[in-house]
């Protein structure tokens, strides 16, 4: 079995799993309890908070644990209904946990301007500057896109946001472990993360909330997470997230080189067997190891299925919970024709992939393309 879909989810790091098993067995107290059972669990959470804070260069106080990236995005966006200024600037390539929420928020008088992207999937910061109105209460732009890997000019956008006194949120679930980040360098007020994108457990995420930025909770109850996310915490998952964030930043340069090398190898091998292949995204501002490629000869559905039958996992478009794939709204926003949209594959490499794995992948793809050609 070969797995090349790390942008969808990553396998859990064995050391992270060990830690979680240990905690799940031994630290079962409620973190809010005063006795030593509770204290142990509380400690696990606070260690994780420090680890995550160190990983992105912020204060532990600024880390809010959530039930995942989607929840972190929702927490930020739903706060608009408590605000006077209810206009949002966002981009056409955001995740549904941003775009679909904004659609729903229309019912609550929240309006939005959706900024287009260019052919490389980048937004132009000038467009954001021009979209600002006196009613703009939030700018929310993804740090790096999940389907194409393009990294956005976040720093520039942050400067615009600060100059205009508008809070800036960035969905950053794709970047940890792939893109060194120091929050102090950016004018970002809020950032969403998700543990299972960096070899941590699913169902756990983080909202970075800059000191001084105020939010109200979506989930109300016992006041956990500074009254921003009620409900008994999940210490083992949170500890897993913390440890995974620490591991993600260790040897990040080496990891990046590894992923870049695999991507380069893929491109070289494909150039020999299938020169018609088209690569989408930005040549420079891009996450390492994420390839978004169009195969004009075959629909990505068929390619995904045939690779899956050989135990090779890649993905196409944006998957829906019915297991089916719709033409990608991201590729559409990049002005890629519908015809090419449904012929586009995402291959995202991970830490365990080897050169040999990549070779097997290109070999299998070329075999499928050859079969396809013979049939015509």
């Amino acid at each position: 079995m070969l797995y090349f879909d790390h942008s969808a989810s990553t396998p859990i790091h064995p050391a992270v799993l060990n830690l979680m098993q240990e905690l799940e067995l031994n630290h079962f107290g409620n973190p809010s309890s005063v006795h030593r059972f509770g204290q142990k669990s509380r400690l696990d959470i606070e260690i994780a908070r420090k680890q995550m804070a160190d990983a992105i260069g912020c204060l532990p106080y600024e880390i809010i644990f959530t039930g995942g990236g989607t929840e972190a995005n929702n927490l930020v966006l739903w706060n608009l209904i408590h605000q006077q200024k209810r206009h949002v600037i966002t981009s056409a390539i955001e995740h549904p946990s941003v775009l679909s929420v904004l659609k729903r928020l229309k019912e609550f008088g929240v309006t939005s301007t959706i900024i287009p992207v260019d052919r490389t999937c980048r937004v132009n910061p000038e467009d954001i500057q021009n979209a600002i109105t006196e009613n703009t209460g939030l700018i929310s732009i993804m740090f790096a896109n999940n389907e194409v890997g393009t990294v956005q000019p976040v720093k520039h956008i942050g400067e615009i946001a600060e100059k205009n006194g508008i809070p800036f949120h960035s969905d950053a679930v794709q970047i940890l472990g792939k893109f060194p980040i120091n929050i102090l360098d950016q004018n970002i007020n809020m950032m969403s993360f998700s543990a299972h994108k960096f070899y941590g457990p699913k169902g756990t995420g983080v909202l970075y909330l800059k000191k001084g930025t105020e939010l109200k909770s979506l989930v109300i109850g016992g006041g956990q997470e500074r009254n921003l996310r009620a409900g008994t915490e999940n210490p083992s998952c949170i500890a897993g997230l913390g440890f995974a964030s620490e591991l993600a930043n260790k040897n990040i340069e080496k990891r990046k080189t590894h992923l870049e090398k695999l991507a380069e190898q893929f491109k070289q091998e494909m150039a020999d067997v299938y020169p018609e292949i088209i690569y989408n995204g930005h040549p420079e501002y891009s996450l390492p190891g994420v390839i978004c490629a169009t195969f004009p000869a075959v629909t990505s559905n068929i390619l995904v299925i045939k690779l899956d039958l050989h135990g090779i996992a890649v993905s196409s478009g944006s998957a829906c919970s019915s297991g089916t794939v719709n033409p990608s709204h991201v590729l559409r926003a990049m002005n890629i024709s519908n015809d090419n949209n449904i012929r586009t594959l995402r291959i995202s490499f991970g830490r365990d992939n080897t050169e040999e794995d990549v070779h097997l992948l290109t070999e299998k793809i070329s075999e499928i393309l050859k079969q396809n050609r013979n049939k015509r």
Binding site: D308, S321, S322, G323
Partner: protein, 358 residues
């Protein structure tokens, strides 16, 4: 090497058992889940996909999924709306079989290297002297040949219906025995993309109301309707004119739509003569394996699903239309619905009802 087939998995009990039976017969099987309807708000297909996934896991079969919503919109739903807009009552499931399941899906399966597609339809395919015939399902209460009359030789040659010889009870029994999660799942009813939703409400989303007068067959104005497209010939409930209104206690029925004047014409009593006709015209004819000149003089027909076969004679009018004379008067001949012809247990083909003649 075993023959490769692709089973169309809906997440229901019938397609689950179809896969089970083929597996027992040694085919190389892959299953394909089809999503034909995109809904912004909810994703009802998600629940069916989860069932399909569990069935495939139990049977140890690979499952793929595919989204044909765009094709469905273009090839089926657009036609459905057009037909309703003109005041007819179309049958999208018939068109879905022709355009999606036995065309788009079939082509997709062939592209995946299959020789045949497999579905859980209650109907049989028989090859005699190189001619493929469509026969009714053995379980006559479940027979689905009515919905398949638009298939041709090419489609039948590439299809397998393993449930054709089975009773629904046996199918559920097999499903239970094989521990398939779908064994108790309710049969789907109504038009697939509407599901359990209120039909008129659904239609109103696409076709805005256009109120007009309700007249009795005698010409008395008795009320207002919301738009002719929301009513079906023979409809009793939902007209807004209760029984007891008029001379008798009997309920009122829709007998006609006057499109020019936007009038809905109703009559009282199930036996009212205006609800019955012995002759109708059908258009867009399709025959499964022979042309109309070779047809038997007397055949039987169904003018709606779940109707007993009715004896009738066919007079070919032009190449593509036919006048059908019934032995007995037929209740509520409905323009837009399909009329399907049979010779005994063989489905010969059919057409779309244009309207009644007498």
């Amino acid at each position: 090497m075993a023959e490769k087939v692709i089973v169309g998995m809906s997440g229901g009990v019938d397609s689950s058992v179809a896969a089970l039976l083929l597996k027992e017969n040694g085919y190389e099987i892959e299953c394909l889940f089809m999503k034909n309807w995109d809904d912004d708000e909810t994703c009802p297909a998600a629940a069916d996909y989860k069932d399909a996934l569990q069935v495939c896991n139990t049977l140890n079969l690979p499952l793929h999924s595919v989204n044909f919503s765009a094709q469905y919109q273009k090839l089926v739903f657009a036609d459905f709306l057009k037909s309703y807009r003109s005041g007819k009552t179309p049958n999208p499931d018939v068109l879905c079989n022709k355009e999606i399941k036995f065309k788009v899906f079939l082509e997709y399966a062939l592209e995946l290297g299959a020789n045949h597609i497999v579905t859980g339809h209650y109907a049989r395919i028989e090859e005699r002297e190189s001619v493929f015939r469509l026969l009714k399902g053995k379980d006559i209460t479940k027979d689905q040949s009515y919905f398949l009359y638009l298939l041709g030789q090419k489609e039948l040659a590439r299809s397998l219906f393993p449930l054709g010889n089975m009773k629904k009870k046996e199918v559920r029994h097999l499903a239970r025995k094989a521990k398939l999660i779908t064994h108790k799942k309710k049969d789907s009813t109504g038009i697939c993309f509407i599901g359990e939703r209120n039909f008129t409400q659904f239609l109103k989303k696409y076709l805005p109301p256009k109120p007009g007068d309700i007249l009795t067959i005698e010409g008395n104005n008795v009320g207002t309707h919301e738009g002719l497209m929301y009513y079906t010939i023979g409809q009793r409930k939902g007209i807004g004119i209760g029984g007891g209104f008029g001379d008798k206690e009997a309920p009122w029925y829709v007998v006609k739509k006057n499109h020019k004047k936007n009038h809905l014409i109703i009559a009282q009593g199930h036996d009212h003569p205006s609800l019955y006709s012995t002759t109708l015209k059908a258009v867009n004819l399709h025959w499964i394996h022979s042309d109309s000149s070779n047809l038997p003089k007397t055949v039987t027909a169904k003018i709606r699903y779940r109707q007993d076969d009715q004896i009738c004679k066919l007079n070919t009018e032009k190449q593509n239309s036919v006048i059908v004379h019934f032995e007995k008067p037929q209740f509520a001949v409905t323009p837009g619905q399909s009329i399907v012809f049979y010779d005994g247990e063989e489905c010969l083909g059919g057409g779309v009802i244009d309207g009644k003649i007498t």
